[in-house]
């Protein structure tokens, strides 16, 4: 049947791509994998660490901009990442919260198979910042003075809002009672400050923006924020796989000062110098020759090509799986109505989970990379397919349903030869919806290291670089349009071939 061959073709394309990718990174890993969070300082540190390793002839790759602390920590435990830069405050207050038992941090970490690497030499603690003009007008220099001005509007990064050691601690210690508190992306917060949409935001004490936006950093006079020493975390088993890695990384001990870090952050964010170049310059300052490590700059066309392959892979694999599972689920839902309501409810609930949350939930199970992204996209694609399969089958006109039943065919045969073809218009429409949603949602895959068009979008938001954002957003929009168009074409062809417009029986005379 044509329907079967269409689904077959989709699955085949997906599998081909899957095996191609598997060959690319499926062999036992010898490279040291360096991870970084999705903010500039972490990316720059990731580049420095990677280049130090390669300069010592230790093969290393950098999986940049993976997400927040939780993503990196899970990836480290799972073995997807071998080393990344973390802050001691984040470890004690957030990641290892509740495990503190008076022993040292190193001892606690080693229980998780993680070694506390060299301290880099600077501290990047949380701080509150206001535009200097506003701060001077209100005469605010320290955090405790904020309570006198309940009209102030606060815009905090999501992580800052949620972390026990950040906003919740700050609010209760200082007794700040403002109803104007919104969560937004850290990089967008600065724009909010300059546009006057918010008055106070959270900063890192090494942020380049403090100077760039002329901000006043408020003194933490009640000492709410903990120490945030920058340290490297490595998997304990790295010693056996790359014996010289520890020694190579030891070079960094105490070598990056806060001034160095602010300067490097400013180079990246204000001067738009690529983190790789910044890292090379810094290594030269340390007397290390990074020439070994020079990665060739990749042209726009091959960059977009690579991301298109990654993005298509995510979409095709997850969509094929959703078709393979969604249509049978839709049949189940249409056949047993009680069970059907349950199935639709479950699939519907999955749809309401924020996509970011779903992606992060997948990491402990599937690690980072394409696997968790495909799994999350698969779950998102289910609802339209299940729903439309069910609706298409339930909506078969009574005269056709009775005529089919009267033939005395076994249920499976009747489904295959009559019911599914009659519902095919609705099913195709469901697949089309899934495909289009999928192309858009797949951009979030970059947060868990799956690549795709989300990669430049993330970097663009981080660097406030519209050109970079468009480099991801435009092809993503084009791909969504292409998906919409090609499925519409398939639908028309299918309808013409089968005379199965969604709402006709043969009743019309």
């Amino acid at each position: 049947m044509k329907r079967a061959s269409l689904a077959g073709a989709l699955v085949a394309v997906g599998l081909t791509l899957a095996t191609a990718t598997a060959r690319a990174d499926g062999s036992p890993r010898r490279e040291v994998v360096v991870g970084s969070k999705k903010f500039t300082e972490s990316v720059v540190l990731g580049e420095i660490v990677t280049r130090i390793l390669t300069a010592s002839a230790i093969p290393a790759t950098h999986r940049a901009e993976l997400g927040g602390s939780r993503v990196l920590w899970d990836a480290l435990l799972h073995g997807d990442v071998d080393v990344y830069a973390e802050y001691t405050g984040t470890l004690t207050r957030e990641i290892l919260r509740g495990e503190s038992d008076g022993r040292g941090l190193a001892a606690q970490l080693s229980e998780h198979g993680v070694s506390l690497g060299p301290a880099l030499g600077f501290e990047d603690t949380y701080a509150l910042g206001m535009p200097r003009a506003v701060a001077e007008r209100l005469g605010i220099t320290q955090a405790s003075q904020l309570t006198a001005h309940p009209e102030l509007r606060y815009g905090f990064s999501h992580e800052f809002m949620d972390r026990a050691d950040a906003w919740p601690a700050l609010r209760s210690r200082y007794g700040i009672a403002s109803s104007h508190v919104t969560g937004l992306d850290h990089d967008l917060a600065y724009r909010g400050l300059t546009h006057g949409d918010i008055d106070v935001t959270d900063l890192y004490s090494t942020d380049a923006e403090i100077r760039a936006y002329d901000l006043t950093v408020l003194r933490d006079d009640r000492r709410v924020f903990p120490e945030y020493q920058a340290v490297l975390l490595t998997r304990s088993d790295l010693t056996s796989r790359a014996p010289r890695a520890r020694e190579a990384l030891g070079v960094l001990e105490g070598r990056i000062s806060a001034e160095d870090m602010v300067a490097m952050n400013a180079e990246a964010k204000v001067e738009k110098i690529s983190p790789g170049v910044i890292a090379e310059r810094f290594l030269r300052k340390l007397g290390i020759d990074p020439s070994h490590a020079a990665a060739p700059e990749v042209g726009l066309a091959s960059r977009v090509g690579q991301r298109t392959r990654e993005h298509l892979f995510l979409v095709l694999v997850s969509l094929s799986a959703a078709i393979a599972v969604g249509i049978p689920l839709g049949i189940v839902a249409a056949t047993w109505r009680g069970l059907g309501r349950f199935v639709l409810a479950v699939v519907g609930v999955v749809q309401t989970l924020p996509s970011l949350a779903l992606l992060v939930l997948m990491i402990p199970l599937l690690g980072i990379g394409t696997a968790p992204a495909c799994a999350a996209l698969f779950l998102y694609s289910l609802l339209p397919i299940v729903q439309n399969t069910c609706a298409g089958l339930v909506g078969i006109p009574d005269d056709l349903r009775d005529s089919a039943l009267a033939l005395g065919l076994p249920a499976g045969t009747r489904m295959r030869l009559i019911d599914l073809p009659l519902a095919s218009g609705s099913i195709l429409a469901g697949i089309k919806t899934s495909a289009v949603i999928n192309v858009g949602t797949a951009t979030l895959g970059a947060l868990v290291g799956a690549g795709g068009y989300g990669q430049p979008i993330l970097a663009g938001i981080r660097l406030d670089d519209t050109r970079l954002i468009l480099e991801g957003a435009l092809p993503a929009a084009l791909m969504a349009l292409a998906a919409q168009g090609s499925f519409a074409w398939i639908e028309r062809r299918w309808m013409r071939a089968n005379r199965t417009a969604p709402a006709t029986g043969s009743r019309s005379e």
Binding site: D402, S403, A406, G408, P410, T500, G505, S506, E509
Partner: protein, 248 residues
């Protein structure tokens, strides 16, 4: 052939058919006649086992439908619905031969049977390759009739088979149906609200109203010895206002 004993069928609070006894003998043409909502189609669906009775029992050749193997039982029935109920994604020929192909009849046997049916139903042969949306209303009913007869079933069940046709097609098809019933000697149960159709086709008429069988008998018996004033009213209403297109 069929035996209904105290059969009721309710949909929630409403009663579609109440405590009905009816015997349908082998080889006779029984027409279920009545206004819309009288329970005719419900009765037909009960005979096919599409709906189970709420109470009472339906027997086919002495055995309750519930005891029969559903698929094998349904293959002994041919069903024609108003509008034809043809599957729009299949050609006429595929509609007709769907089950025979599933039963792995060989090509010759299928061809022979198709030829017989085309002749019997006076269907224009080349139109077999068309899909239902390229057929006229009358052709669709003929395809539907061929599909019902393909396996040479013992029983034909027809639900308003002429209901959606223009007057000329209608009278042609009615004539051809009468001829087919005559030649095949099958047990036929036909649902209609049209008295003239009933008279032309029926051996016996079962008159229904509001979920009850009021009377079963020939047209003459219904006319001359009505069991209920409604029977007379129904007959007179239709005799006074003949259905358009019927010659007086």
């Amino acid at each position: 052939m069929f035996e209904l004993e105290g059969v009721s069928r309710t949909h929630g609070a409403s009663v579609a058919l109440q405590r009905t006894d009816l015997l349908i003998s082998e080889g006779e043409v029984v027409v279920l006649l009545g206004p819309s909502g009288s329970g005719k189609s419900t009765l037909l669906r009960l005979l096919m086992g599409l709906d189970p009775p709420t109470s009472g029992v339906v027997r086919f050749r002495g055995r309750a439908l519930a005891e029969l193997e559903t698929q094998a039982f349904r293959r002994q029935l041919g069903y024609v619905v108003q509008g034809g109920g043809l599957f729009p994604h299949l050609t006429s020929e595929r509609n007709v031969t769907l089950v025979a192909r599933f039963l792995r009849w060989d090509a010759d046997r299928i061809r022979t049977r198709l030829d017989e049916l085309v002749a019997l139903t006076r269907f224009p042969g080349p139109a077999l390759l068309r899909r239902p949306d390229r057929l006229s209303g009358g052709e669709r009913q003929r395809v539907s009739l061929m599909r019902a007869l393909m396996l040479d079933p013992q029983v034909l069940l027809l639900d308003e088979p002429l209901g959606a046709l223009d007057p000329i097609t209608r009278s042609e098809l009615q004539r051809d149906l009468a001829e087919v019933f005559e030649r095949l000697h099958k047990t036929v149960v036909l649902v209609t609200h049209d008295l003239h159709e009933a008279c032309a086709l029926a051996d016996r008429i079962a008159m229904l109203r509001e979920g009850r069988v009021l009377q079963v008998g020939s047209f003459e018996q219904l006319r001359d010895a009505p069991a209920d004033p409604f029977v007379t009213r129904f007959l007179q209403a239709q005799q006074d206002h003949p259905v358009a297109g019927e010659a007086p």
